[in-house]
Amino acid sequence: MLSASAYLVLAFLILPILVVIPLSFNAEPFFSFTPGMLALEPDAYSLKWYQEIIEDDKWLLAIKNSFIIGFFATLIATTLGTLAAIGLSNPNMPAQRWIMAVLLSPMIVPLIITAAGMFFFYTQFNLAGSYLGVIIAHAALGTPFVIITVNAALAGFDYSLVHASLGLGAKPGYTFFKVIMPLIRPGVISGALFAFVTSFDEVVVVLFLAGPEQRTIPRQMFSGLREQINPTILAVATLLVIVSALLLLTLEYLRARSERIRLGTQ
């Protein structure tokens, strides 16, 4: 009874995601299974929606934009977030609780409010409709995740290692890259992945802030779902499911690694 309900909930979680995969091979321009597909006729399946992605300039631009914006937003969020987490995780940090609450707030405030505020504010500096504006916005949204993961990696971090390194004459920069960084690297990388996914998946801020030149994959999907539903979106969705499965594998690997590092230092 318990296991049956648990498996039902698991099915509820996973089936809606898997359903897009076979539908993306539909030979007809529908969002549903055709009788031919159900009878497993080869003619009912096709790769044409995948070909459509490759041939459509709009989708190619969206893919390019998503990676460019995601890359730079991740770079900013990870650099600033890692530095901040090193300060915040120390018990001597002044006003730790308040600063933490402010720095994590981009994760809590509804995106529609963030997007509206950014639209008002960024327009004054001509940042609306520019790559820089979207990158800054996405970096701000990604930093809370970096802080959380790096903070977790720093839990139980032995600060006497830093003192030892500095005491032995190492410069602060050298100490950072050779002593602190190797120990928290898994946390930094998973924070970076979170920051990248936040940007890669974000659409509300893009809707308000980006011009046609900065359209990203989710933005393109959003207008596709609103204006003319066609299975190209399902093909894109399938590719994105594969991307997230790869991400999940990477994170699991990192988690196992960071567990090893933590156990190793104790």
């Binding site: 002044p94 720095l103 998973s190 609103r226 499965a245 994170l251």
Partner: protein, 412 residues
């Protein structure tokens, strides 16, 4: 024997601690500045926009200046000088093609004023300035009988206020009576929508809790190899793009979608059900999207509950159900409350999914904010509605910090 420190040693160690604090703060400073500029300042701008509205004051500055002092007299028209100034300013606005903006702004305070102002502007455009001045304002009054209504002039004066609480009143379905008292509007739009968003968020929180509880319990008590394998089914949706999951629900719920076809084949229904573009679609797809946020904290709490408490209760003679309710369930509350607050906070401000699957029925407060930002261009009202939502969210965030602690948020 306690070691005695000299005053110098104490001062030195205090100075050292201060230096250490400064260094730690210096690590955090770049991000703090960045977040202040890139995130906090925009939010502050939004709050500012909800009470500061100079548009009308910039369009008809002279008129508003001349009308000062008259405003306190409820049933009279402004003096002829004010009327002439208004007519002249309206004429010059018409010449610059900006009279439409004024019409739109006044119309928000005085419904029906839009067409009046536009038609009058068209007339004034072709008149000579001297002619308008000579008429002592009768040209304006004669152009339409509505100009004889003192309430319209009061609306113009009120729209011209640079600092205003008007948008908050509108956002709360209130208005100012001509006498200046606050009264409720006949039709409630926004309060209803806030209420509906709260109701939907609460329903989603309950649904995710009911679904997550047995699953988390099962995972927490399974062997770790099995639990890790099955957790993939929770984490994959968590990591999958929101747009992908919304797309899936469109494919599932549409008229000829997977759900309707299956029900038809099973002979449960003859006609397809209208599932997509309803409140039901909003609720079920958001429940699916937010379920991992409930499962993960609940699972991590349940995993650390010692099963011997429950067994002890049973062996001491408690019946299984009361033992579960009184022993096991209270121990899951930290996870349950963390998950519930998180799901509630996220769902109350959700925009994308309701916009795509909700139709007119399943819209939430965020959707009306987006509508006022993008379609009706009533940015000040959008800002007021957003500020009220923000207050609600920050109150919940404070509660979350008190109960769970923002330092304890874990991911994945």
């Amino acid at each position: 024997m306690p070691a005695h420190l000299s005053i110098k040693e104490i001062a030195d160690s205090q100075a050292q601690l201060r230096r250490k604090k400064l260094v730690l703060f210096a690590f955090t400073l770049p991000l703090l500045l960045f977040v202040m500029l890139a995130f906090v300042a925009p939010i502050a701008t939004m709050l500012y926009r909800s009470v500061y509205h100079p548009t009308v004051a910039q369009l008809i500055p002279q008129t508003l200046k001349q009308m000062q002092g008259w405003e306190t007299q409820p049933d009279t028209l402004p003096d002829s000088d004010s009327l002439v100034t208004f007519a002249l300013e309206l004429k010059s606005l018409a010449g610059e093609r900006r009279s439409g903006k004024l019409a739109e702004e006044i119309n928000r305070v005085f419904p029906g004023a839009s067409s009046l102002i536009k038609s009058t502007a068209r007339k004034l455009k072709h008149l000579d300035e001297q002619e308008i001045i000579a008429s002592q304002g009768t040209i304006l009054l004669d152009s339409h009988k509505k100009w004889h209504n003192p309430a319209l002039w009061h609306a113009i004066a009120s729209a011209g206020e640079v600092w205003t609480s008007r948008y908050y009143l509108t956002a709360l379905d209130l208005q100012l009576s001509p006498e200046g008292a606050i009264e409720s509007r006949d039709t409630r739009i926004y309060l209803k929508l806030y209420w509906k968003s709260l109701r939907i968020a609460l329903l989603i929180t309950l649904l995710t809790a009911v679904l997550a509880f047995p699953l988390s319990y099962f995972l927490a008590n399974a062997s770790s190899a099995k639990a890790n394998t099955l957790l993939v089914f929770v984490l994959l949706p968590f990591w999958t793009s929101l747009l992908v999951r919304t797309t899936s629900w469109i494919a599932l719920l549409q008229t000829n979608g997977v759900v309707n076809s299956t029900l038809k084949v099973l002979g449960i229904i003859d006609q397809p059900l209208e599932l997509l573009y309803t409140e039901f679609a909003t609720v079920i797809s958001m429940t699916h999207i937010l379920l991992p946020f409930m499962v993960l904290p609940l699972y991590s709490v349940m995993k650390n509950i010692d099963p011997s408490y429950f067994r002890a209760a049973l062996s001491l003679g408690a019946k299984p159900l009361p033992a579960f309710a009184k022993i096991y369930f209270p121990m899951t509350l930290p996870g349950l409350s963390a998950g519930a607050l998180l799901v509630f906070i996220i769902s109350i401000g959700y925009y994308i999914t309701p916009a795509l699957v909700g139709g007119t029925d399943g819209q939430m407060i965020s959707n009306i904010i987006a509508f006022h930002m993008q379609s009706s261009n009533n940015w000040e009202l959008a800002a007021a509605l957003g500020s009220l939502l923000l207050v609600l969210i920050l109150a919940l965030y404070w509660l979350y910090d008190r109960m769970v602690g923002v330092n304890n948020i874990k991911l994945g």
